[in-house]
Symmetry: C2
Subunit: 449 residues, 2 copies
């Protein structure tokens, strides 16, 4: 924060035989010169008053990538060894992918360089190991751009809300899904059409699996759970449910309930005498229209963090795109550069004193909420009676039944909402219900938040 009076004890001295960082220059290498990489380069070149100097750009087929707006002093290379053997102090990884990225980041840390990465999959998978390696080497690894692009939620949770005990994080972490759901909502189009349009506009990839199925968002949620809730959780142990079954009729029903539908990433810590439990899931859910989550438009991201003392705090903005993501990367570079200026010649690694210890809670996918069940049936008498009986046999109370008029009898969508109950109970009831012969497709179910 503003008053930070960190300083360089001696700009020139090198008492302990270690590298000192001058106040005026900090050399930066860029691994990857795609959308984010070139935005980072542009910001580093355009910003004045900065002591950061871009010295290397690494990319495959580097000759094809070269641009004329970077200073001629920048070395373009295809070889990581060029970077590692140089006097670069901060290596910025914006190539994506798990390999060779992980190896290169490890080698960079091992060569005494700090690292900034935007790589959510990598950080979700081996963030703690990389942080620990960085500490051993007296370096830093920062990953503010790995979640929610330009929205400074990692630093917000880690620094700005450090004084709170956070126990819940809910967010919209995938702009592609939010764009698709917003389009279905706004234009009453089917999911497939919305997806196709998103692909045409570049909001969704040719293979949209990672986004649609929630795999992208759960990697980000794993990172937020670690940073904000101090919980170690592997991305693969986080429940992920697809948004693909969403239909425009679901938005109509949701609207009747004063809600809309969003892909919600949700992690919540419960501390019990038996131990710590972390509920963690990425799934489509109904959110009240008055909630900040409901109002996230297009490809924007939003995170709501809830703490014991401070209540709800909201962070929102552009979750993707070259420039917003580059802002997060450059903010991390600046944080390391400042820290290097104050933390020179330190050799004894200590723990992150004052930080809460990382928990390893039992991860659960069960939660209590109201539920939305949307059926598509071949109509015949007695359907609601049958469903009501089966739900009540599982101890589940129906809250409301809604049926849109004017639908074909052979594909009749209708809605049952449930009073608060455990999701596991609903799943159990649906296992039986889904085998009923009047169902055209399995029941679509979502929590109502």
């Amino acid at each position: 924060m503003t008053g930070l009076a960190k300083r360089d004890p001696d700009d020139k001295a090198d008492v302990a035989g270690e590298k000192t960082v001058g106040a005026q220059n900090c050399n930066v290498a860029l691994l990857g010169f795609g959308t984010v990489g070139s935005s980072v380069a542009r910001i580093l070149c355009e910003r004045s008053n900065t002591h950061l100097r871009l010295t290397h750009v690494l990319n495959r087929n580097v000759a094809r990538k070269k641009v004329d707006w970077l200073p001629s002093s920048v070395k373009w290379t295809e070889s990581i060894d060029d970077v590692l053997s140089s006097d670069v102090e901060i290596v910025v990884e914006v190539m994506g992918g798990l390999q060779p990225t992980e190896d290169w980041i490890r080698r960079a840390l091992a060569s005494g360089k700090s690292v900034v990465t935007a790589n959510k999959q990598l950080i979700a998978r081996c963030g703690p190991e990389l942080i620990s390696l960085a500490r051993q080497m007296n370096q830093q690894i920062e990953f503010g751009a790995s979640v929610a692009g330009g929205v400074p939620v990692i630093s917000g949770l880690h620094e700005g809300l450090a004084g709170d005990d956070l126990f819940k994080i809910r967010g919209i972490l995938n702009g592609t899904c939010n764009y698709i759901l917003s389009q279905i909502e706004a234009n009453g189009i089917p999911f497939a059409t919305a997806l196709r349009e998103a692909q045409k506009l570049g909001f969704a990839e040719a293979d949209p699996t990672e986004d649609i199925e929630g795999l992208d968002a759960r990697a980000k949620l794993a990172i937020l759970a670690r940073v904000g809730l101090h919980c170690n959780v592997g991305a693969e142990s986080i429940m992920a449910r697809s948004i693909a079954p969403m239909d425009n009729v679901d938005f109509e029903y949701a609207n009747q309930l004063g809600c809309t539908i969003r892909q919600i990433s949700w992690a919540e810590l419960t501390v019990e005498s038996k131990g710590d439990y972390l509920f963690a899931a990425v799934q489509p859910a109904l959110v009240e229209l008055s909630s900040p989550l409901a109002r996230v438009a297009g490809s924007q991201n939003l995170v709501v963090a809830t703490g014991t003392y401070g209540g709800e705090t909201v962070f929102g903005g552009h979750g993707a795109g070259g420039n917003p993501t580059a802002v997060a990367v450059v903010s991390d570079i600046l944080a390391i550069a400042r820290s290097k200026q104050s933390a020179v010649r330190m050799t004894i690694p200590i723990t992150d004193a004052g930080r809460p210890v990382q928990k390893s809670p039992t991860v659960t996918t069960d939660f209590t909420a109201k539920h939305y069940l949307r059926f598509l049936v071949k109509d015949r008498p007695g359907i609601i009676a049958t469903l009501a009986t089966m739900l009540s046999q599982c101890g589940i109370n129906i809250d409301s039944v809604l049926q849109k008029p004017g639908c074909p009898k052979t594909h009749l969508p209708f809605l049952i909402t449930l009073e608060e109950c455990k999701a596991s109970l609903v799943e159990q009831a649906l296992q039986k219900i889904n085998s009923l012969d009047f169902l055209v497709q399995p029941c679509l179910h979502m929590p109502i938040l």
Copy 2:
């Protein structure tokens, strides 16, 4: 951010004859034990895994303040000298007021202690001097709680968005005004009634001048302009306009325009060849219902920061209250404690390397926007013709004229909206218009954002 690998070079050594801070303990004194102070004490006591130790509580009439839930090791005192002569490393000022606060903070810094303060008026008035004194003394002063309570906007602008070039900040920084305006909007009550109810509920003070007239918000805006836009601006040079003239009829008209009314704090930097200009104002304004500013409910706060690269980023949450404000205070204490662990034994103050230089722009109160003019007139033929003629003589174009039906002829409110034009032009036109004899009161004017 998470990867921070700051460390204490040597926990015990004291090579340069200066104090070193152990990784396990950092002693904290609390000046003020009111709502915020006692919340800070509670968080410090309840949180586990922290190396912070509350050692002193200072308050007037301390005997009356004493509580039994603080450890008996805490020293209760009425004397600042007790604190300054102790081994306290961080002095937390949550007393408010300008004196003796300023003196005490200066003395604390001069005694080699770092300071955390929630005091917006003090920081707006002499923040730069205090920061500079802190630097001279190799200490820090943090003030994250001085703006927007628990919303981590100071750290967000200063760290999380450090990589961007911010040029505009708009926010709702005064919960009292937002509560009053929300109540007028929700219940269609007059301003005076809404204010009285807010006072009854403790949302407004007996003397609400600071809030209503925008003086509280402009102190906060001065701080945000400094932190986010790197502009030195005195609070007193920021335009402040009262929300008191707002009537429920204004909300009705605003709604017809797809807007609501909020007290908006707005700072915007324009860099021109002639120099830098900062527009800075706190005023009631019409905001579109779809804007995040329109949706801020009750006493919440929200800040929208706009940058060249990252676009709009939103920070929102509880802007006041003991616990949320205490979260910001404790986050600052933790930041200093971490920094002390890495920044020991540093004696040569340097500038905040890599930070943009603070600008001292020309402060302006003029801006270009659409405008809302609400007249209250004794009706007679030709009023609109007269007003239209006078506006057009000033070169101002009318966008629309609205008149609510069913109002008394002697107190007839009606609305003229203007196409985009300079606020100074509107003020100029209104100077003439306000002397017209058919006006029951001076025209109420606001920008439409």
